[in-house]
Structure formats: C-alpha cells, structure tokens
C-alpha cells in the first residue's frame, strides 16, 4: 500500500511550518520547536481536550482552540504566546492549583512558574476556596487512588475503557466540581470490574493513581527517583512480547511501566507484566 502524504502549510508565531495533513496544532508546534503545556492529552489516548491548558489563538476563531485536538488547516495562522493565550494558560493552571494537590504532577510546576500563576489568590477571608478533598483509597496491595491529586483529565477512564483495556471499571461520576473518578456506588476495586492491569496508573499525570510500593515509600520518605534505574526488558509471562521498564531503587523493583511508543503495548500492560514481579525479590526464593 502506498500512502500519499498531503502536506499542509500554516503560520505559527510568524513562522512558516509545513506538516502532514491531519497533524494536530500541538504536534505542528512541536515540529516548529515550540513547547506547549499539555495535561489531558497523551500519545496513546484519544484526545478529550478538557483541561484547556494547551489552548492557542487561531485567526478567525472567536474562542481559543485546544491545540492537542484540533487538526491543522492550510493557511491557518496560530499564535501560541499572545496575551490571551498567556492569560488562559495561567488561569487554567491557577484554577487547578487552587483546589488540587499538584505536588506530584508531571511538569506542571514548571509551567506554573513560566506563566506566573498564583493559585493562592482564591482563598478569601470569609470563603476559603473549595478543594478536591478525598481520603486516599487503599483497597489492596497493588495500587492506591488519591483523588486529592486528580485533575479529572479522563485519561484513566479512557485507558480502562475503549482506548486500551475495555474493562470499564471506572467512570466519571457526579457533575461539576463534585465530579470524581469512581466505580458504581463507590464499591472497592476488588468488588468492581477492575482486572488490575494498572493501565490507569500508567497514564495518570498527577500521581493520583500510584503503585502501593511508591505510595508507601513516599510516605516513609524513602522515594528517591533520582537514585532509580530503569531497565528495559521483555515480559516473561506469555508470548505477546510486551516491553517492560523495571524501575529499581536499591536493587529492588519499585514500579513497572511500558513505553507509550512501543508498537506492542502502546504503554499498556496486563496484571502479570504490571504487578507480577514480587516473586523476583521474594525472600523465600533461592
């Protein structure tokens, strides 16, 4: 089969850019060397464009446009650093920081500094800003859910649903600021449809979903990512050939991921690859 690539030409921040048709504005920015914050977007998931941190200004469009999801068009004129864009990105980051614990969120701290966001300006003398407040849900030995840290990016729901796992154990529940990720009637994960593939953990950008090992080590003050090694190997349980990345600290496996760009897994695993490694470091093993 031959694929003819149609090329589209657009202007980003005054710079002429040529990209294949169907490329997102975000990818086009990347190819032009422009860094864009993203939160709900991921390489291996369908864009939901809900967080709005990636918005750009497109000439002729009244509202700002989510760059992660909007395909480029020929002749498009895009601004990624106008006052309007800066304002919206700053406000989105402020809003997130004003109610959600972002301390373990990938990359967001950098953008909060970049845009000068001030998440604290919403606490008012008589009306404190409402927060996402939830006790961590610790229901088994494999992983925990701490929705204080949840930005409602929908990634876990997509990974559990028709972007990867087709298990549909979790969904967005409730409406507005009270919306949360949950199971039916808040039943525990062992009582739900969950098959413990851990694909939701793999895509969560904020640490709301975490390996129990990581959670316990963080609580004990023993989590030291800078000292961790990552070893890439192939899962030994079956013949599919999933790539595993074993994260080790002090020669102990502390969590397992898979690369999002790997052709076999697209970052997703099953319970055996994700969690089936405790035997390696079992004290009874010789």
């Amino acid at each position: 089969m031959t694929v003819t690539e149609v090329s589209v030409s657009l202007t980003i921040d005054g710079q002429e850019v040529d990209v294949p048709a169907g490329t997102s504005i975000h990818k086009a920015c990347e190819s032009a060397g422009i860094d864009t914050p993203t939160l709900c977007w991921a390489e291996n998931l369908t864009p939901v464009n809900v967080c709005r941190v990636c918005v750009v200004e497109v000439e002729g469009s009244r509202a700002l446009v989510p760059s992660c999801a909007r395909p480029v068009e020929d002749g498009m004129v895009v601004e990624t650093d106008s006052e309007r864009v800066q304002h919206s990105r700053k406000m989105v980051l402020e809003f997130l920081g004003s109610g959600i614990d972002l301390s373990q969120a990938d990359d967001l701290g950098r953008w909060i500094d970049h845009y000068g966001a001030e998440p604290d300006r919403y606490d008012q003398p008589e009306v404190p800003a409402q927060k996402m407040y939830e006790e961590p849900k610790i229901q088994d030995d494999l992983y925990i859910r701490d929705y204080d840290k949840c930005v409602l990016c929908y990634k876990c729901v997509e990974a559990c649903g028709d972007d990867a796992q087709y298990t549909f154990a979790i969904a967005v529940v409730g409406r507005g600021f009270d919306a949360r990720i949950g199971t039916e009637f808040d039943v525990t994960l062992p009582d739900s449809a969950c098959v413990y593939c851990g694909n939701c953990i793999g895509v969560c950008p904020t640490g709301a979903l975490q390996f129990k090992t990581e959670f316990d080590m963080r609580n004990a003050g023993e989590w030291r990512p800078e000292e961790q090694d990552v070893t890439t190997t192939v899962c030994s349980f079956c013949g599919v050939g999933c790539n595993l990345e074993l994260h080790t600290q002090d020669d102990k496996i502390v969590k397992v991921t898979s690369p999002a760009d790997h052709s076999v897994t697209h970052g997703h695993l099953c319970i055996k690859g994700r969690f089936g490694w405790t035997y390696v470091q079992s004290p009874t093993r010789r």
């Binding site: 809900v50 304002h87 409730g174 507005g176 039916e184 009637f185």
Partner: protein
C-alpha cells in the same frame, strides 16, 4: 467488548416490572445462546439510548436508583455499571442513595423570579407540613412564582399549579395579530380534530406539495433564525442536513428549556402540542430525515403527556409513520425526557444524553449537521423556531418578512416575569421597544422604581432603565451589548437586593457546570465564592474586581461550550451597572 461484569445485588419485582414497562423485555444478549461477541455487540450499541428511560423507571419505582436496580438495567442493556452510575449521578432528578422514605419529593425553584416571590417561605411552609423539599434550579414556571414541581414515587409526577388551572391561558389570547400563539386557548390541545379544524397539518400538506428544496429555500429566504438562544440561521442548518446523503438523518426538537426565566416552550408544548409535532414533520420532510426526536426537560409532565398524546394521535391518523401524511417519506417521532440538567439543552450535550451517556458537550467542529445524534447528520431546533416554519411554509417568506425588521424578521416570544403586573408569554414583532413590552405586561407591580431588567436569562445580561427605548431586535440588542437570548425579560425594582440575585446566578452556574473543562468547572466555583465573599464583606476591592475579570476572561476564551462562555456575563453586567452592593 468483553462481557460485562455485574455485581451481586439483585433488583426486586417492583424495579424489574418498572424497567420492563419502560424499555420492554428484550435483553441485549441472550445468555443461553450467545455471547456479546456475536450479535450482542451491535444490539448493545443500538439499545444504549434506552438507558435514560430505564433510569427514570427505577427512580420512579423506588424513589432512588438502587444497586440492584442499576445492575438489572446494566444486565438488560449490557452497559458497564460504572458508566451507568456515572450517567445516573449526572442528573438532578436521580438519586443513588436510599432516601429512607417512599414519599414524593417537592422541587421548589431557587432562581431569580422565585427568589423575589418568597420561595424560602414556601419551602418553610412545605417542610412544616412534612413534605420532602428539593431546592431546584428554575422550573420553567416563572410566571407562577414561587414554582413547584412534585416528583412522584410509584405514581406520576405533577405540577401543583396545574391542578388549579390546567388550561393556563396567555395574556394576549384572542389577539388577531398572533402568529405563533394563535391556537392557544382556541384549539383543544388534546384533540387532533380540533387542531385540524383550525388549519392544522395544512402546512405539512403544503410542504409536500412544494417539495423539500422549495421548503428549505423559503426558510432561508424568510431570514428565520434560531430561537433557542444562539440565533443561528435556520435555512443554513436545514440545507446543510438536506445535502447530506446516504446516512440516517435526524431532526430534534430541543425542548429542554432550562434557561432561568424561560417558559415559552412549555406554554407552546402544553397548549399547542400538535403544532410542535407538525413542525417537526415539516423539518423532517425538508431535510430528508426519517427520525424525529423530542427531548423535553423532565420537570414538564403536562407538556410531555400532551406531546405523547399528539404523537400517538398523529401516528394513528397516518400523519406519522411509513408514508407520513401521504408524502411517500417515512417519518416518526420519539419523545425522550431529560432528568434535570441545564447543560443538556446545549445541542451536543443533548445528543450525548439522549444516546445514554453523560450530558457532556462535545467539541465542535464537527458540527451536528454532519455529526449530530448518533454521529449522524442532525438538524436541531428550538420548538419556537420550528413553529415559525409552519407560518413560512403556508404564507411564504415575503409575507413572513412583513413583520419585524430587515435583519430580524418575524415575531418573537418573550417570557415576562419578575415585578410585572401580568407575567406570561407574549408575542411581539421584532422592533417593539423594551418599554412597550413592559407596558404590554401591565407595567411594574409592587413598590419601587424599575432598577433593571434581566435580558436572556442567567446566560444573558442586565440592562438599566435607560434601555427602555431599545428596540427588541437581534441587531439592536447586540449593539447595546446585551442579548434577546431565549426571550427572557425579568423586571426588578429598586427595593430588591440585587447582590443576592447575583449570588444565586453564580450559584446556578456552579451547580450546572458539567465539570468537563477546567475553566468552567473551577471558574464557576471560584466566581460563586467571590460573590459570596462580596456579599459578606460588602466591599468590592479593586483586587476582587480584577479577579472577577480574570475569571470571566478565561471562561469566555477557553471553555468548551456556551455555558462556560456565558457564566460570567450577567454578573459582570450587574457590576458594571452598579447594581451590586459595594461595587466601586
């Protein structure tokens, strides 16, 4: 699709009977003979849209959606329980915890028209009488404030005001200049014969004579624009859907009417339901759509019953069905009830809700004309828009343009409420001034002078007494920085505490945000908190004003849908007009 995992809780007889009555007993998979992998997968997709009716049945049967009841519905429709629970928790009218009683629940409106009509006193009175009260957003009965709606358990829903006068009439009844309201009070809303005797279904017959293209042309030539709030040209929409080939197509009447202050669609549907059905059939014929849908808000039991009766009678008379009205085209109508969610009036959220998903708006593009209901081409219109089409088809575009202005042809329904002597629905030619309209409604009532009029509802804006000379047209309202929106004109006198009104408006948006996008999910909460702080401290500092502006800008610029885009509009206009205590 893997097989669905369903928990152990079982439904009881009452729940099973209610669900069977609502959606039939036709499981998506037959357990003995097939797995989902075979025919079940396709049928599961086909039947997902029955989730909302099934949830309504459970809610009505027990007064809540129990784990066993939900499991049963999930098993019949093969919907994952987590997803169904996500859908159930989206709506105001559903509850997922045991209320501990099997009594009816009285919804009392908390929004502006009822706020200034002693709604809290009504609540206190009802509660003293032992009623279970639920504080609700606008119930679409603003002309009879304070409004109530009773959600039944094991029996039908009802509206207490209807029991006093089921035949609610309109102030202008009998006026020969009426076009959209002409049948009201004249035609029996429960009788097809009565409707036909008054010229009903002549427009559909005329449309069939003219053919689809000529109908679309007439609509375009008439300059008709949407009456649901956005004023999009109807002819453009219909032509776009008519041009789509080779796929099932839909026409939808958006009867979700939930904009605070709006009740005109209710009055139309209750008093002229056959016209709504006929106009939908005209839209279906013009666009080549076989499927008509009426999505009506859940708090309108009388309108729902009358529309259902109208659809049934029309089907029996051959006006709907395989050869609708002898046109050679198939067209039929299904009615779906919403369950309490303002956002489901937004067109893409309405599609999601009808399809059995959470009522979250989808991003546009793609637009409904190519990717609407079930991702198929769809023309969605407000019922008032649709009714205009009957007039245009019968009398032609030129005659239609003889009323109104060049840029705003025709007539417009207005919802007058608040401190006016004769609140109700009025029909005016575009171009009538705001002052004349207030006079038409009998002028102000109560003590005090006119302070402000809320135009277009919570999503609209306040105007001051200096706007009384404003002609009510799309162009004039736009030029003055306000909007006609859905036709709301709510009058407030200067003895009313406008800060409290604005606090409530901000609370409305906080409660109604679907929660999907950050600017609106968090912005509406922070905006409400700021208004409460303002109310408590009584001082609008420069810092707080800057915060209000910053929040408004990001909601306008970066939200996904119109709810976020307009959530700051009324409040900002009130601040600009100096209506809020402590505004600098």
């Amino acid at each position: 699709m893997a097989d669905i995992f369903i928990g152990l809780d079982l439904a009881d007889e009452v729940e099973i009977t209610a669900v069977t009555a609502a959606i039939g007993n036709d499981p998506a998979i037959v357990h003995e003979t097939e797995r989902l992998v075979i025919g079940g997968g396709a049928r599961r997709h086909e039947r997902r849209h029955l989730l909302l009716p099934a949830l309504h049945a459970l809610q009505n049967a027990r007064g809540w959606i129990s784990p066993g009841g939900l499991n049963h519905v999930c098993d019949v429709l093969q919907v994952p329980p987590a997803e169904a629970y996500g859908v159930a928790t989206f709506y105001e009218m559903f509850r997922v915890d045991d209320p501990g009683h099997g009594d009816d629940v009285v919804h009392v409106c908390m929004d502006a028209a009822c706020q200034i009509a002693a709604n809290e006193e009504l609540i206190a009175e009802l509660e003293a009488g032992g009623a279970h009260v639920h504080r609700s957003p606008c119930l679409g009965q603003c002309e009879r404030a304070p409004a109530q709606f009773v959600q039944g358990v094991g029996g039908p829903d009802r509206v207490p005001a209807d029991e006093i006068s089921v035949e609610l009439r309109i102030p202008q009844q009998g006026d020969s200049s009426l076009r959209l309201l002409k049948n009201i009070g004249i035609v029996d809303p429960t009788s097809l014969d009565s409707y036909r005797a008054a010229g009903g279904f002549d427009a559909l017959a005329r449309a069939v004579e003219l053919g689809p293209k000529a109908v679309c042309d007439a609509i375009a030539d008439s300059g008709l624009s949407g009456r649901g709030g956005a004023a999009f040209p109807t002819g453009v929409k219909w032509k776009a859907v008519a041009a789509e080939q080779g796929r099932p197509k839909h026409v939808v009447a958006n009867c979700d009417e939930s904009e605070p202050g709006t009740f005109k669609d209710r009055v139309l549907m209750e008093n002229d339901p056959f016209a709504v059905v006929e106009s939908l059939a005209v839209a279906g014929f013009a666009t080549g759509a076989e499927n008509g849908w009426i999505y009506i808000r859940g708090e309108y039991p009388v309108a729902t019953a009358r529309l259902q009766n109208a659809v049934d009678q029309c089907r029996a008379a051959g006006l709907l069905g395989a050869d609708a009205a002898g046109s050679g085209h198939a067209f039929d109508v299904e009615i779906r009830r919403g369950a309490g969610a303002y956002i489901c009036g937004e067109e893409t959220a309405l599609f999601a809700s009808l399809e059995g998903f959470r009522g979250e708006p989808r991003s546009k593009p793609p637009f409904p004309t190519t990717h609407g209901l079930f991702q198929e081409p769809t023309a969605i219109n407000n019922p008032e828009t649709l009714l205009n089409a009957l007039d245009i088809v019968l009398n032609g575009a030129d005659e239609y343009r003889s009323r109104g202005t060049e840029q705003s042809p025709g007539t417009k329904l207005l919802c007058l409420s608040g401190r006016v002597a004769k609140p109700g629905v009025y029909e005016i030619a575009f171009g009538t001034t705001l002052g004349d309209v207030l006079d038409l409604a009998g002028g102000l009532t109560g003590s005090g002078e006119l302070a402000t009029v809320l135009m277009g509802g919570a999503a609209g804006s306040f105007v001051g007494p200096d706007a009384l000379d404003m002609p009510l047209t799309l162009e004039d309202t736009r030029e003055r920085g306000t909007t006609l929106g859905s036709g709301v004109m709510m009058a407030f006198t200067d003895e009313i505490d406008m800060t409290a009104i604005c606090v409530r408006i901000s609370e409305f948006f906080r409660n109604e945000s679907c929660g999907q996008c950050v600017p609106c999910r968090v912005g509406t909460v922070r905006q409400h908190e700021t208004m409460v702080q303002l109310q408590r401290s009584g001082s609008m500092t420069a810092e707080r004003r800057a915060l209000v502006d910053d929040m408004a800008r990001v909601m306008v610029d970066a939200s996904i849908c119109g709810l976020g885009h307009t959530a700051a509009s009324a409040i900002n206009s009130a601040i600009d007009l100096g209506l809020i205590e402590g505004a600098p």
